[in-house]
Symmetry: C2
Subunit: 581 residues, 2 copies
């Protein structure tokens, strides 16, 4: 089936998240945003969607250091760049179109829904552009940003090493100053998405490495720009740099996205340029990682949307079984149990979109609000919600994609149907850009105490405000659901207070409950997003039905999660698991 960008749904979500604040939109009106989404939807349906299946079947292939993307991908990428889509989210002062983050994220959903493996490439290039924008010298920016923004060149992020996955302390890639302002980079990086490919002539690698005299741990990490081809005269490509793709991984999903092993300095050292200050690379990388984390959350929304569209379409066509009083077989969408699966899929998708866009709106405010206090508060909100948006949306993507298979029955297990690919693709999302376990740890150890806990207090106050507004709206039929949401918020408050009271000595106790706490946070944030959508829906009854479904069938899990956070740790910490524990 062909992917249809859900333009109305996305617009409604942008509105409910508060994106149409004049400070954010800065003159962009709803019609313009709609036109952008519709154009993106058209490009996605006509160009990217048809390459999704062949990408999955063929994959990218490595031959003698060169990576060939699947048939049709190079041309699609050229059209993508020519149409200006690469420039869309980029800073206006660097030559980008400077669209708000919320609109850029909304458009990002569309690329990734049509073709997740394709979407990885602009996602990471944007991360590299952000890092250069923040940390690069004017000279470096002038040299590289225009061609990255135009899409002529792509960018990569090189963090992971074989012995250092989630733990950047263990990083060993070396950077040796040459005395002329450049550095020789030597080391091996793994899991580098689009580290090598044939979509563009040049690839700009951003690489974390250590200087010879760097302090140990993460305080001794610097960031370098390492182009595949060095500069030649007059903007032409110069000599090949000392960086090669030594292998690509055979993965469960996003098979067309080449996941590369990159070797820097096999011939003595790759030429690199410092980005930001020496030993302060991680600060720049974190800015870019946070944006990337939210973008991965949006990838989750994308896969979930795509899987939901496919399942609803199938369930409306496939006839099986009879309803009472019917002589003929009915479309399975009429069976209550199938409806439950489809509603679960839709509710999780819409909720995940709402949570991600709320985070994107906070990002916009953190950049654009006029007074510094508002900007600072918005920045704290972004920091607080980013792990939640990333984890909730990516966990939702896996659940939704798995339900999508189930709706198809036996057909779902056959690859040609397309439903199985969504699960395979989605399964990377809870892992990359920081596993969801790491998001949970980030949340409980760093984010809850932001601004002395005020960031969290103000968020809980906002959640309570939404519930008050729902109470006032007095929607018939929502009484039980609203009661469940109120209980969920109370449980969330209790769990938050409980964590806040734990001392450093109780670190492991808190960490043992980090994941259920993150899930609880996601549950109330999702309920809030659906509630805002319902409050904002005017005469459309659908968002209210979705909210009711979620409140009655998902928010009800909150008390159990809170119990797990506060009382479930003893066995976690004491169990003998038999392998080196």
């Amino acid at each position: 089936m062909t992917y249809q960008a859900p333009v109305d749904d996305i617009l409604a979500a942008l509105k409910a998240a508060g994106a149409f604040d004049p400070v954010i939109m800065d003159g962009l009106d709803e019609d313009t945003v709609r036109a952008i989404l519709e154009e993106a939807g058209k490009f996605a349906s006509e160009v990217l969607d048809p390459l999704n299946r062949i990408g999955d079947k063929t994959g990218s292939r490595l031959d003698n250091g060169a990576v060939a993307t699947p048939p049709g991908w190079k041309e699609a990428y050229s059209r993508f760049a020519e149409a200006g889509w690469t420039a869309l989210p980029c800073p206006a002062e660097d030559g980008g179109q400077g669209l708000p983050s919320s609109v850029a994220m909304a458009v990002g959903e569309i690329w990734n829904a049509a073709n997740l493996a394709f979407g990885v490439c602009p996602l990471l290039t944007n991360g590299a552009i952000d890092a250069l924008h923040i940390g690069g010298s004017e000279e470096l920016k002038a040299r590289y940003l225009p061609r990255m923004i135009s899409g002529e060149w792509t960018g990569t992020m090189n963090l992971t090493e074989p012995q250092a996955g989630s733990d950047l302390n263990a990083l060993t890639t070396r950077a040796v100053p040459e005395g002329d302002g450049t550095y020789r980079i030597i080391g091996t990086k793994i899991y580098i998405s689009y580290g090598e490919h044939d979509l563009t002539d040049n690839i700009i690698h951003l690489v974390l490495a250590r200087l010879p005299d760097a302090p140990p741990g993460t305080r001794g990490i610097s960031l370098f720009l390492v182009p595949k081809f060095l500069d030649g005269d007059d903007g032409a490509l110069g000599p090949r740099n000392d960086v090669v793709c030594a292998g690509i991984e055979h993965k469960l999903g996003i098979i067309a996205s080449p996941t590369c092993v990159m070797k820097f300095g096999e011939e003595g050292g790759a030429t690199g340029y410092l980005v930001g200050k020496e030993n302060h690379g991680l600060a720049v990388m974190f800015v870019m990682m946070n944006a990337a984390r939210l973008a991965v959350g949006v990838q989750g929304v994308a896969v979930a949307e795509r899987a939901t569209q496919r399942a609803i379409r199938y369930a409306g066509e496939r006839r099986q079984g009879r309803a009472p009083g019917d002589r003929d077989m009915v479309p399975i969408i009429r069976h209550p149990d199938v409806r439950r699966m489809l509603l679960t899929m839709r509710a999780l998708t819409v909720a995940a979109r709402g949570v991600c866009l709320a985070t994107a709106v906070a990002t916009d405010l953190s950049h654009k609000a006029s007074d510094p206090q508002t900007r600072a508060r918005a920045a704290d909100r972004v920091a607080l919600l980013t792990p939640v948006a990333k984890a909730f949306a990516t966990d939702a993507a896996v659940e939704v994609a798995s339900l999508g298979i189930q709706v198809h029955g036996g057909m779902g297990y056959i690859e040609e149907t397309g439903a199985a690919q969504h699960l395979r693709d989605a399964r990377i999302l809870p892992i990359y850009e920081g596993t969801n376990g790491i998001q949970a740890i980030d949340l409980v150890t760093r984010k809850l105490s932001l601004a002395g806990g005020v960031a969290m207090k103000s968020y809980i106050a906002d959640l309570a405000g939404t519930l008050s507004a729902l109470h006032e709206a007095q929607h018939t039929g929502l009484e039980f659901g609203l009661e469940q949401m109120a209980r969920a918020l109370e449980a969330f408050g209790s769990a938050t207070t409980w964590i806040g009271r734990k001392s450093d000595a109780d670190g492991d106790i808190v960490l043992a409950g980090a994941t259920p706490y993150l899930q609880l946070f996601g549950l109330v944030a999702a309920g809030d997003a659906l509630a805002r959508a319902a409050l904002n829906a005017g005469n459309d009854p659908a968002p209210l039905t979705l909210l009711r479904f979620f409140a009655e069938n998902r928010s009800v899990a909150a008390l159990g999660l809170a119990a797990s956070v506060m009382a479930g740790h003893a066995s976690v910490l004491s169990a003998d698991l038999g392998a080196g524990t």
Copy 2:
């Protein structure tokens, strides 16, 4: 890594489930059962496990109607049959070894853990043997059973047709009486596991079809035996029957197991022999399907066990991050969040094994108990627990396999690691032999009212009995968990009563909550299995820790599920899903 059959765990589970009742074991002592499990474990590790990866990579291939299994499979199957493993679960009066169902299921776990795609073949052959045993004439049994039991020939189950997946009403395969006691079978069947292969010389298909004058619907379905090769003289293979494999599916997982499209009667009609009475085929098929459903639950246990072993091994070896006070990186098994994932995996695996073996023990009692009332009650218990065991264990398999990927981080997404295959393999289990949605519908529409509701009452009384025993045992630290289990049982009772009070006119309301009810049932059944294991554990503290973990972190979900059952249906039934609703 090599699979290690968890012989001690399986023995403990058999004991906790009550399998060592003299009526069931009939002279088999614990040492003998241990020896059988150890032998099976040895065969699984040495012969089946090494073929798992090549099976996944190569798959079975169709060429001109012939299916070639992966390299090494034919020899492994021969050794499997020669060692007598095919005969193990078969009725002694037909020449099998007549082991209790509980022991046979325990051994089945071992085959499927080592190689799920291989395990599908004996699983279905057993189903066909059961059907023949129950419904076949003496002559038919004498002709086919010995060679199926010895493993010389395999069997298949042919139910599904393109237009009739879950709905056998729509079945159209025809059977025309020839007047000589045989029938001509004409029609197409899909999703036929091992419908064609090169492991054996002959394949015995059991096929559902309609006679010309059959009543419509499921009351007009008959069962036929259709051999690939007809009988020749003196037991030699005779002429090829009119049945061919027209295609094999390209699947997400269990790739080595050939899933065939079978065409019967392309040349005028395949010769078939009636099994059971005309128009009464479904009764025979249901007996075999129920056994197969429990066996699929056991496949779930198997994948979960394998994924858990792999994840614990990896987590004990992979070093990443530091614990407070440590200078060096520690194995990730020391991180609380990783421990939570591993404990979830282990608890679900052990609980699923317990629920499946409790069902198998009831099966044994239903056959072997001396008084008819005990047999009847046990048969009702089997009927009640089969959908729960199938659904709980297969949902657990998917969750555990997915967590297994997560524990591996980025490595989990790389196919060579092996963790991803478990998720791909596991994902068929909630679908085949009746989707878990169909199990839920079967449970709420047919099983709760068995024996006028007495079957369910007696089960709840047993659950309450386990809780009383736990109370009496006064395990330190279990207080909170026990309270949660008591609340879960109460919620389960309420939801059960609520369903019981609904009239036929409320059918859709009940159906809308069927899946959360099944999940709630699974939750209390799983808690009960872990509780029995803990009560039975003597001085071993591990089962108690696992119970505590489950009670504090999973049983706490019961109230939410009960709310969903009783109050979550309005939106399910009323939502506009936009595609023919």
